[in-house]
């Protein structure tokens, strides 16, 4: 059988109840046998559970813990060395790839003069034009007259 104040008793027993609620509950305890019994049960349970933790540390356990910590410390150094080596390897690989790409890129750069020739070929000036052959001129003129007639 539980009183409506049973839930408060747990916090009261642990000293976690606010002062005002604490005083109110203590006034209630003076009049409620159910809650007084419940409080006694809490004390007994507390003693029983506390006894479950009463156990001497096994002999040699602390030493085993020390040894395990020492081993873990050694492993930390090994792992750090492995990570540094991996980083160094990655840097070397990246440098190698960059150098290879840089060499390949330089060989494929076109000659600037050749590029300009393709993009904008120089047209001959009138003075540079070769003189027209008279026969060719006669043929062109004759053909032109034929089209007009």
């Amino acid at each position: 059988m539980n009183c409506e104040h049973s839930r408060q008793l747990s916090a009261y027993y642990d000293g976690e109840l606010p002062p005002e609620e604490c005083r109110s509950l203590e006034a209630h305890l003076a009049e409620c046998a159910v809650c007084r019994t419940e409080l006694a049960h809490l004390r007994t349970l507390s003693r029983l559970v506390a006894a479950a933790g009463e156990s001497d540390i096994p002999e040699g356990l602390a030493l085993r813990v020390h040894e395990r910590i020492d081993s873990a410390g050694d492993m930390v150094v090994v792992r750090l060395a492995e990570r540094l080596m991996a980083v160094a390897a990655a840097i070397l690989l990246a440098s190698g790839v960059w150098l290879w790409q840089a060499q390949g890129t330089e060989a494929s750069v076109p000659d600037e003069a050749w590029v300009s020739t393709i993009v904008s070929p120089a047209l001959p000036t009138p003075q540079e034009q070769a003189p027209v052959d008279p026969v060719i001129k006669w043929v062109v003129d004759d053909l032109s007259q034929g089209e007009r007639t």
Partner: protein, 190 residues
């Protein structure tokens, strides 16, 4: 910088580093500082692990994993709580992972209780077995708050920090855990 601490007899005990100082030294490479921490807390953490797991073998595993985890994650300690609370938080998580508690048969647990050298005999073996069984039947969450409160003596605020739950949750779990335990150990509640 070290602090002077007094021994129980009142006389100065020379220069003795505090737990946070030891942890700081250990994180800077001073292995002896971490070993000192182990020596300070091993016995009490074992008792806590013993209460949480119900047997010495699991308690030893949990304790070793606790200190190993603390050693590997020293940098995670931010000084918001005591070193002790930080260690207990790690231990609580390790104990929750210990599954052998649920697989232990009562007969085996009783044999282990009888064989534990140096175990204090405040109660009869039957009583210790009954308590161990009753605690074992609780959920991990309920067992944790009971043990942290009754064995470690933690406040609700400390438990909330260790378990990472609100203070109201701690209070609620503790109330329900005690109600369950009361039903299982009714023979001991005259």
């Amino acid at each position: 910088m070290t602090a002077i601490e007094r021994n129980p007899h009142g006389a100065p005990d020379g220069l003795r580093a505090t737990d946070p100082e030891l942890l700081q030294m250990a994180s800077e490479g001073d292995a002896a500082a971490f070993h000192e921490l182990v020596d300070r807390h091993a016995a009490s953490l074992f008792r806590l692990a013993r209460a949480m797991t119900g047997n010495a073998a699991d308690a030893e595993d949990v304790m070793q994993e606790t200190f190993l985890g603390a050693f590997q994650r020293m940098s995670s300690f931010q000084g918001r709580s005591s070193v002790r609370t930080w260690l207990v938080a790690i231990l609580s998580r390790q104990a929750a992972r210990s599954r052998r508690w649920r697989l232990r048969r009562p007969a085996v647990a009783f044999e282990e209780v009888a064989e534990e050298p140096g175990a204090r005999a405040r109660q009869t073996p039957d009583a210790r077995m009954d308590i161990a069984e009753a605690l074992g039947r609780l959920s991990s969450e309920h067992r944790q708050v009971l043990v942290l409160r009754e064995v470690e003596g933690m406040t609700y605020a400390e438990m909330a920090e260790v378990l990472g739950v609100p203070l109201g949750t701690v209070e609620s779990r503790l109330f329900r855990a005690r109600q369950e335990l009361k039903e299982q150990l009714s023979d001991y509640l005259a």
